[in-house]
Amino acid sequence: MRRGFAGVGVARDDVEDVVQDVLLAIHLKRHTWDPAMPLGPWVLAIARNKMIDDLRRRGRRHEVAIDLTQFDIEGEDQQASIDAHDVARVLSRLSDRNRDIVRSISIDGHSAREVADRLGLTEVAVRVALHRSLKALADTYQEKVE
């Protein structure tokens, strides 16, 4: 998918946005996969749908990816700045507590149990908050399309 996007000249950090959008969609929509059907076409259909959404949005904004050199650079610094940028943009939509939960589990790698103990919540509450936050993240990507 990353290669497919590079082919149509989309900047690297934008591609990563779509990759994350696809991963979120695969996760949140996995109940729409019928186990009697092959998995491949289902995954491709989701990826294709998200890529089209993204390209359509790009077309609407008349945005052109300019910096082709980005594709050759794999520097740590560049990656870090892209990540920092994304963290701020995507997580800023969540409530303080939910952002804390998502950060602790994803970036710091804590378990739901540990986060629950630290915040004085039940493990179930943390799991629910995490799930809601993931849905909210998916909506954030969707809003960018509209």
Partner: protein
């Protein structure tokens, strides 16, 4: 957020999977239809001699069959459309079965009744109720099916919404048909499509926005 971090969050959320979409849809459509049925029974209800008519009146039974032959394929289409890997293509032709059947009924009707009664049979006595009650009876299944589709992942939001509209109108029309005293296929062909077109257009309009994900 780094993609690897996101994957960690997704893995932590592995347990929270929704029920299979086919089941959600079946329950939603069933509940919506049941709600309409209850509303229907409490208000206008079917004709009092419903069971007798089923065995004695060909026209009455025929119109019920036509309505069901539209609602049933619409349900299976909606079920398919709720999955991202489903391509509607040729299977949309199943929706043409009911109109074709109705056309056949019209042919038989025209051949069997004198031509000076055609007009009266076509206009009937209840066209206004027919046009208003079908959408009203479609409302509960319509909302239910759109919400169920929303939890799915259609890659054809407009078509999915439209077929959802056909399905809900099919349910509403089946109920209304059991009440309506106008049994001629001529009446059915003239007035019933109004409700269907309304719900289908509504479904397409709402679906094209509401069913994106």
């Amino acid at each position: 957020m780094k993609t690897d971090d996101l994957i960690k969050a997704l893995a932590a959320d592995a347990k929270s999977v929704e029920p299979p979409i086919a089941r959600t849809l079946a329950i939603a459509v069933g509940a919506g239809a049941l709600l309409s049925l209850i509303g229907f029974m409490l208000t206008i209800g079917p004709r009092p001699d419903f069971f007798e008519l089923l065995s004695t009146s060909v026209r009455y039974t025929f119109k019920l069959i036509v309505m069901l032959s539209l609602a049933i394929p619409a349900f299976f289409l909606v079920r398919g459309l709720s999955r991202p890997d489903f391509k509607p293509d040729g299977s949309l032709w199943w929706l043409a079965f009911a109109p074709a059947l109705l056309l056949l009924g019209i042919g038989l009707e025209l051949a069997s009744v004198p031509s000076d009664t055609w007009h009266a049979r076509m206009i009937g006595h209840n066209s206004f109720y027919c046009m208003t009650i079908i959408p009203i009876l479609s409302l509960a299944p319509f909302i239910a099916v759109l919400y169920a589709l929303k939890s799915g992942a259609t890659t054809y939001p407009t078509i999915a919404g439209a077929v959802g509209g056909v399905l809900s109108a099919g349910i509403g029309a089946t109920l209304y048909a059991s009440h309506c005293p106008d049994d001629s296929p001529l009446f059915v062909a003239l007035w019933y499509p109004v409700g269907f077109v309304l719900m289908t257009v509504l479904g397409a309009l709402i679906g094209s926005r509401f069913l994106r994900w």
